[in-house]
């Protein structure tokens, strides 16, 4: 039996609330299928499954909050015949089930009888208070009005957060991750001024042959150039966990600013293998989904490096803070016309300032410097992208 567990959608995630099962017992699932929707600090996330098989049973009810790692469903691996399934099922299943139930007492609570005064029950219902979480101090441990009022007061203290819940949750997730980064990761910073004139010319040409929907934005070239450079310097496409661990896939996490405040960083899977058009398509897909808190679990967890781009009319330079356990973040400032000296001549060029913040435990400035130079090289030859 395969156990499907509550995935970790980031180092800062402790638990998630199952909102909806997207499959039902008996359904055949394959790798990449959306099995559930889970509410996290980062919004409503579609959870993908990475195993193949037939869903045997769901152990968690919709609406239940469970910790990361809790077993949520059991799957019959594909290829196991029905006969063996029948033989095997009763015995080995028991312990799994018991263990699961113990780790998630919430799901069994409805069979427990709790004493509540009629008034307390009424007030709880009117205020949507879950009586399971209220300790009773009345006769025989019954929950009284006082206990429920206390619970309401507790919730009302947190209430302001709830009004714009995702924004505040994201704010605190960012706060946690960035504080951890700044206190644990020794950052070094490098900056490179890049002449973006040729790249813009290339874009203008390329877009003249594309429908409005398919037109490319400058950022696509920045992403693509970064992906290519990462292939050259794999130490930057890595995580730091008991030492440097390079990542096979290059999945650039692209920083999306939210209208409600905060940021969310979906991964562009296999960025290095995608064409510029494919990257543009991916952006057109994930940016609106990120803003609607409708990302998939893999998009939230698979980034191997982060890229932040200021965009039009913004700051000239951006110095990033690394998202742990990654070891680097690449930043691009606003593209703007600047006086630019080259070969003894002064001209006006479109310039973008690229920065790299690197984890000095993982890499040194030399690698970072060469990496920025590589990005510059690729951008000077947009055809090669």
């Amino acid at each position: 039996m395969i156990e499907f567990k509550m995935p970790s959608l980031g180092a800062d995630m402790e638990d998630g609330t199952l909102i909806e099962w997207k499959k039902k017992p008996g359904d055949t699932v394959k790798r990449g299928d959306i099995i559930a929707e889970v509410e996290t600090q980062k919004g409503l996330i579609e959870i993908e499954i990475f195993d193949e098989g037939i869903i045997d049973k769901f152990l968690i009810q919709e609406g239940t909050k469970v910790p990361v790692g809790a077993v949520m469903a059991l799957l019959q691996p594909s290829g196991v015949s029905l006969e063996t399934k029948k033989e095997k099922e009763p015995a080995p299943l028991q312990p799994t089930e018991e263990k699961t139930i113990k780790s998630t007492p919430i799901s069994t609570a409805e069979t427990r009888k709790i004493k509540v005064s009629p008034l307390a029950r009424r007030i709880a219902e009117e205020n949507h208070i879950n009586l399971e979480s209220v300790a009773g101090t009345g006769p025989d441990g019954a929950i009284t009005k006082e206990n429920v009022d206390h619970e309401i007061a507790k919730i009302e203290k947190i209430e302001p957060e709830k009004i714009n819940a995702p924004a505040v949750a994201i704010r605190s997730a960012i706060a946690a991750a960035m504080s951890k980064s700044n206190s644990e990761i020794p950052h070094y910073y490098l900056e490179k001024k890049i002449d973006f004139t040729k790249a813009l010319a290339w874009l203008q040409e390329a877009n003249s042959q594309r429908s409005i929907k398919k037109r490319l934005l400058p950022v696509v070239l920045l992403i693509k150039a970064t992906a290519r450079s990462l292939s050259d310097f794999p130490d930057l496409n890595a995580i730091w966990e008991n030492g440097l661990q390079q990542k096979k896939d290059i999945n650039i996490g692209f920083v999306v600013s939210l209208t409600t405040g905060g940021i969310i960083v979906p991964a562009i899977h296999h960025t290095n293998l995608k064409s510029v058009d494919e990257i543009m398509e991916t952006l057109n897909d994930i940016i609106p989904r990120a803003r609607a808190f409708k990302l998939r679990s893999s998009e939230l967890t698979d980034s191997t490096i982060t890229l932040t781009s200021v965009g039009e009319n913004g700051a000239d330079v951006v110095y990033g803070i690394i998202y742990p356990p990654q070891v680097a973040i690449v930043g691009f400032g606003t593209i703007s016309e600047q006086p630019f000296a080259e070969k003894g001549m002064l001209g006006i060029r479109s310039v973008v300032k690229a920065t790299l913040a690197g984890d000095h435990r993982a890499t040194d400035g030399l690698i970072g410097s060469r990496f920025l130079a590589a990005i510059n090289n690729y951008l000077q030859n947009p055809d090669s992208l």
Partner: protein, 332 residues
């Protein structure tokens, strides 16, 4: 208005007598009859001096025959008089129970609304001073059970003074319970008669933490308990039912809805009692306002004992009320 606010200190007995005197003065149809009410001045001296003041025609000593003189009172009422019949104790009233229940209570109904029975039957009730089981019971529930009767309980000096007047205005038979235990108790009341209703219960003390619902001789005990409880920060509301039939549920239901807890205190036996009725109505009407189970303090289900300490132990006392309320609120 000056007069209305002037207060005098008076005993419960004196309050009853003033009510009687005034009734006799105000309406010539009113007369008093009962055992020893005239020459002896009443078994509890409530009517002392009235014979001299109003004469034999209006203060009538009767033979020791409750069925006879209560029946005569009912007949006089039908004939247009306003008789006040005194029955010495509720124990003896059972001898007149047939007259009260089968005649007084039924005639309006059986005559198709033609025959009213405006009799007032005053009954001494509850424990006195070691009068033992045949003179001491609390049988208000017997009478409160009967449709066609209006059953009043004068648990305060105010009602002892004023309820009789209101009762005499009723076209239908009224049973007015007076409490032997309270006769010598002194309280301040307005010197002049003050109108009271015989349809509504009354909040005797306001509070927010618990409703103590009571009647009769237990009213003052509950008020004393509320004073004790206030010292430890518990604000008890005391509801005096006053009218046991037809019972005024609006007042006690509103109180329970406000305080969310109810303790019912009565000296009558627990089973099939007024408190049972009140409790049932709370469950029926304001269940979702309750924050704790309704509790009752009632008379022990024994014939009232003669021995002083046993007599005291047989009915709820101030300490019992205080302790029960503390338990209900602090759960200790």
């Amino acid at each position: 208005m000056e007069n209305a606010t002037t207060k005098i200190k008076t005993t419960y007995r004196e309050a009853l007598k003033q009510g009687l005197r005034e009734a006799l003065q105000n309406d010539e149809r009113v007369f008093l009859m009962g055992e020893d009410v005239g020459r002896y001045g009443g078994a509890f001296a409530v009517s002392k001096g009235l014979l001299q003041e109003f004469g034999e025609e209006r203060i009538m000593d009767t033979p020791l025959s409750e069925a006879g003189f209560v029946g005569a009172g009912i007949g006089a009422a039908i004939a247009g008089m306003r008789p006040i019949v005194e029955v010495m104790t509720v124990n003896f009233s059972l001898l007149a129970f047939d007259q009260i229940v089968n005649n007084a209570a039924t005639l309006l109904h059986m005559s198709g609304g033609q025959v009213h029975v405006p009799v007032v039957i005053r009954i001494g009730c509850g424990i006195g001073r070691q009068l033992a089981a045949q003179h001491s019971h609390s049988w208000e529930p017997f009478y409160a059970h009967v449709p066609g009767l209006i059953v009043l309980s004068a648990g305060t000096h105010e009602d002892a003074r004023n309820m009789l007047h209101a009762a005499l205005q009723s076209p239908d038979p009224v049973i007015l319970f007076e409490y032997t235990f309270l006769l010598n108790m002194e309280k301040e009341i307005p010197a002049e008669a003050t109108p009271v209703t015989i349809t509504k219960a009354k909040v005797r003390r306001e509070g927010k933490d618990i409703s103590i619902i009571t009647y009769g001789a237990a009213v003052y005990k509950c008020l004393e308990a509320a004073t004790e409880l206030a010292k430890i920060g518990i604000e008890a509301e005391v509801v005096d039912l006053r009218v046991l039939r037809p019972i005024d549920e609006t007042t006690f239901l509103a109180s329970v809805s406000k305080t969310h807890r109810a303790l019912i205190v009565e000296e009558a036996w627990r089973s099939v009692s007024i408190s049972a009725e009140v409790s049932a109505r709370i469950m029926e009407k304001v269940f979702y306002d309750l924050d704790a189970p309704v509790q009752r303090l009632c008379g022990a289900e024994v014939p009232i004992p003669y021995a002083n300490h046993l007599e005291e132990a047989a009915i709820p006392q101030v300490n019992d009320i205080v302790n029960t309320v503390k338990k209900m609120i602090h759960h200790d």
